[in-house]
């Protein structure tokens, strides 16, 4: 179990974008297999849900490290509950995972003692090092494509993504309405991605 989860953790974070969930079992089937003590299903379960939890953590916690902690906490809690048969409706496992993530995030009273007890049950290191958690894009290619964008699209993308600035706030800074910012942003992303894909295929 420990070895399996360690391998899974490495896989999850080494290639987050290449993640494809279309395998033989759906999420509910995996949950049922874990409840039936099929440890092989745990690896796939973690591989599927870790990126989703991490995204949720990044959105609300705005921290890669905090999101990584959340991934570990939620996965360990979910495996514990599934193993114990405490997830009543495996068909709604995605909803259960989201609910657990929300609960763990807002539970400010969560004590380190409780976390340590869970980790004692699953003494594995699900937290990847920071470098492997955020595999960079081909930055040279990105730089080239970014410089190839029309100035307005480049500016809107940079200012949007620097601190996840919504369109209405950005529009006020640039003298544009929010709808116009969204159009420029969308067009800029399309151009950037097309350029990245074209360069990548060469």
């Amino acid at each position: 179990m420990n070895r399996v989860l360690s391998i899974v953790a490495r896989e999850i974070y080494a290639s987050p974008v290449q993640y494809v969930a279309e395998t033989q079992d759906d999420d509910a089937s995996l949950a049922r297999r874990i409840a039936a003590s099929d440890t092989g299903a745990e690896a796939e379960f973690c591989r599927r849900f870790a990126p989703r939890i991490r995204l949720f953590g990044r959105k609300w916690l705005r921290s890669e490290a905090a999101a990584a902690d959340l991934v570990q906490d939620v996965l360990l809690m979910a495996l514990q509950k599934l193993r114990a048969g405490a997830v009543r409706d495996p068909e709604r496992i995605a909803s259960f995972m989201l609910g657990t993530a929300r609960q763990m995030m807002v539970d400010s009273r969560r004590s380190s003692g409780r976390r340590e007890r869970i980790l004692d049950t699953f003494p594995v290191d699900l937290i990847p090092d920071q470098a492997s958690a955020t595999e960079p894009l081909d930055e040279q290619r990105l730089r080239h494509c970014l410089q190839a964008l029309p100035e307005r699209e480049r500016a809107v993308l940079v200012m949007t993504f620097y601190d996840d600035c919504p369109a209405d706030a950005l529009g006020k800074q640039l003298g544009l309405n929010a709808g116009h910012v969204r159009v420029i942003r969308h067009r800029g992303l399309d151009h950037l991605r097309s350029c990245m894909e074209a360069e990548g295929s060469q």
Binding site: R48, L55, L98, R154, A155, V158, P166, Q173
Partner: protein, 193 residues
């Protein structure tokens, strides 16, 4: 497994907190159910992360708002700033520990619909034109962030920036600015840069 693909714009709107609570919650539930939408949003977030790194490392030349520069300063970036009125020139450089160099170009931007920015040498090199730059007419300032690699590689040079107002088929010069650049190593102490 739900294979429905949300449009990129919708996923990004969720990520940037542009949706109302109900719409955001709906997408959030879907992201836990749908691997392809989750992967699509992850890709957007990775692009965003890379853009942030590129800006912070000075690899991106662009035009931003003055408010955005204050945000960068609040994040601890060391920024060298030059403020120029129309027709002014400035002695400028880039120090080894500067993260970014910013030029604030004041110009009469009221009633202007499109502004183009032209970079040119005084030695006859071909000018570079950035069309349709973002600007806030009310502030009367265009905030330019040149790429640091270009600045650091520059020797003694005299550069010109020009703001053009573009209207229909015609254009007119709004303002010109001159930058007398010197490498940091070449500067003596007490030089006003």
């Amino acid at each position: 497994m739900n294979q429905h693909q949300h449009p990129t714009a919708e996923l990004l709107a969720y990520w940037l907190d542009e949706l109302d609570e109900a719409a955001a919650a709906k997408i959030e539930v879907h992201l836990f159910e749908c691997a392809s939408c989750s992967a699509a949003l992850q890709e957007l977030v990775r692009i965003g992360d890379a853009l942030r790194r590129e800006l912070r490392s000075g690899n991106v030349g662009t035009v931003v708002s003055a408010e955005f520069v204050r945000r960068l300063q609040a994040d601890g970036l060391r920024i060298r700033e030059y403020t120029l009125r129309p027709g002014e020139s400035v002695n400028c450089t880039v120090a080894p520990d500067d993260d970014l160099v910013i030029s604030y170009l004041h110009a009469p931007l009221g009633e202007v619909r499109q502004v183009d920015l032209v970079f040119a040498d005084f030695d006859g090199g071909s000018p570079h034109r950035s069309a349709h730059i973002p600007f806030d007419a009310a502030s009367g300032v265009v905030t330019v962030v040149p790429p640091m690699a270009v600045l650091r590689a520059m020797g003694h040079a005299r550069k010109r920036m020009q703001l053009l107002a573009v209207e229909d088929a015609s254009e007119r010069v709004l303002a010109e600015y001159t930058f007398n650049h010197a490498p940091y190593d070449a500067l003596g102490s007490g030089t006003d840069f």
